[in-house]
Symmetry: C2
Subunit: 178 residues, 2 copies
Amino acid sequence: MREDEKERIKAKALEYFKEAVIILSSQEKKNMEIADLGLNDFERTGIVLVVYVNNSRYCAKEMVLFPRQTCPEHRHPDYNGREGKMETFRCRYGKIYLYIEGEKTENPKTHPPAGDEKYYSVYHEIILLPGDQYTISKNTFHWFQAGEEGAVISEFSSPSDDISDIFTDLRIKRVSNN
Amino acid sequence: MREDEKERIKAKALEYFKEAVIILSSQEKKNMEIADLGLNDFERTGIVLVVYVNNSRYCAKEMVLFPRQTCPEHRHPDYNGREGKMETFRCRYGKIYLYIEGEKTENPKTHPPAGDEKYYSVYHEIILLPGDQYTISKNTFHWFQAGEEGAVISEFSSPSDDISDIFTDLRIKRVSNN
């Protein structure tokens, strides 16, 4: 992604953080991660992340999804003798359509990005509004999409390494920013 | 503490969460913990807690300190073969005066509650404004006080059990709400 495009996205993400009244340090604003997951389709598939803390014990982040943007299906398996990542998503602003393993929801409220359906396999729907949260066990497939207004999401979790994530879409390469 | 007094404090804490634009579920509001730590001096020494998640891997909470209220000095040692709690405080609203082990700060901005000085031993001062955060290692003595406007603080940490906390003030008995 081009630098000017990244800066444009960062500025837009800051508007969402402002709307959600989440105050960031100048360093956090600078280090904001624009993840297009190598798909070059950021408008539809991608996510913005601000990592507050990620140490050997726990991790906390804020994330922004733009309207109808999707974080694609993946899971966090055990890796290198370390237990897979467990994570709690808490909606701070907007609406989140979260899909996890389990009974397929009839008439789900939304769908994977058109044309990418083959990279999605779990359809148990959970809807999160501000103040709602949901905890995802390690190694459980999940994907999520924002509603029409976009979403700001806090994530509390065990340590995060990105590199061990397994995406259903094998075109995706998650690279660590560290 | 009397039930009507607890309800009065909960209502006041909710005003702080509203001010900080932190949206809580009705269950979280109901389960809000008013910790007076057995000192019966809540106006000066105590804290309000809302636990978002506390599992075997990580913990996340919101906390409210009323104006000039102090969370008294304590540390989180290893306990029962489990590593002591490591925690990150992030200021969301107001101002936090945090004191930890280390070089004593000359002319600190505030002081322990008058008459309780003997229960306080660490005076390395760190001031947190909204968007600032600080991570405290396990087994490190710390205490903190809100400024004139009170404070709302997010805590991200390893699992929390309360029962293993060691307070400098031996009058304090921290009991688990679970």
